[in-house]
Amino acid sequence: MTDVRVDVPKAAAPLAETGEAQFGDYVALLKPRVMSLVVFTALVGLLVAPGALHPIEALAAIIFIALGAGASGALNMWWDADIDRIMKRTSRRPIPAGKIAPSEAMALGFALSGISVIMLWLATNALAAALLAFTIFFYAVIYSMWLKRATPQNIVIGGAAGAFPPMIGWVAVTGHVSLEACLMFMLIFMWTPPHFWALALFMKSDYHKANVPMLTVTHGRKATRAHILVYTIALVPFALAAGFTSIGGPVYLTLALGLNLMFVQGAVAIWRRDEARAEADSYATEKRVFRFSLAYLFVLFGAILAERVLALIPAYAQFAAQFHILEVF
């Protein structure tokens, strides 16, 4: 696949006059919806890890992981203010709306990055803090500054930034990276491309207008549909493999089997459709798969957490242990 570089001038249009920002505008700068997913997945990683943290340490770990994610969100909004202004979906963000100056967002992003990493280090351990620092760097620099405007594979590689939180939660407790942490990482990493490409299919004009080399723009919608199917199929082994480690069990495996089957069915439905059919029903299938993908991730991580709770019942823990065949590695 050929990477296509699209240069978007940083000063494409003058910034709107900066007005009086309210507290909520600063919160919006931290991408609270992304933070909520980060909090949930990091919390699952932290709770299912072997060992235990003091409740205050656990609370601090979750807060500072979320703050780190928010910091990278602020840096992303600072860097992408020019294209955010063009895209309808992002045009009301605090910087393009003229409520917060770009320099202010940058300063907030850097300050919160430093605070979150140092505080996570003090609250838990150096490896967790290093992973958080790398996540912020990956999202702000590798994804936002480099890949997003350079390659249609931006979503694939950039998805790693969103995949780190459960691993950081796990490492905050254990102090080391293990197979379970890697599988939780891979679950989000492989889930991200079909999730965002489904969104890109029905938000096509936005990415096109902003000259962001989304796969739909550079390789066409037919190729995007094929990519969604390939990545959804590639996601399945990772989702199922997690069920055979210490974080899985019969409940997780049952749900994973059903959800992956439904996800693949949705991806096949997207792949089989052409643009005429999709436009005729206003991208109903694409929208349905996009919404389903959100539920998919939420339920799977919920199932990982449920396995941990159910393992408190000795009889269930004994039964579930029979499924943990990957623990020998």
């Binding site: 507290f23 909520g24 600063y26 003091h54 340490e57 601090a60 807060i63 505080m119």
Partner: protein, 66 residues
């Protein structure tokens, strides 16, 4: 000298000033809680009052430490 005249700026920024105050107080409370959790290591804390207390002496054979 106290501010006696309320400017429009004060009213417009009241929300974010209160928000920032709440965040800072929450941060202080979290750091305090974290300090207690780290220092105590899950156990109870005993204050040292500059007088010898046999129960706190790790070398005192009459009071073996845990």
């Amino acid at each position: 000298m106290a501010i006696t005249r309320e400017h429009d700026l004060h009213r417009r920024r009241a929300g974010r000033n209160i928000g920032l105050a709440v965040v800072l107080v929450a941060f202080i409370a979290l750091v305090f809680g974290l300090t207690i959790a780290k220092v105590s290591g899950g156990g109870a804390l005993q204050a040292y009052d500059h007088s010898y207390r046999p129960a706190m002496d790790p070398d005192n054979v009459r009071f073996p430490q845990r």
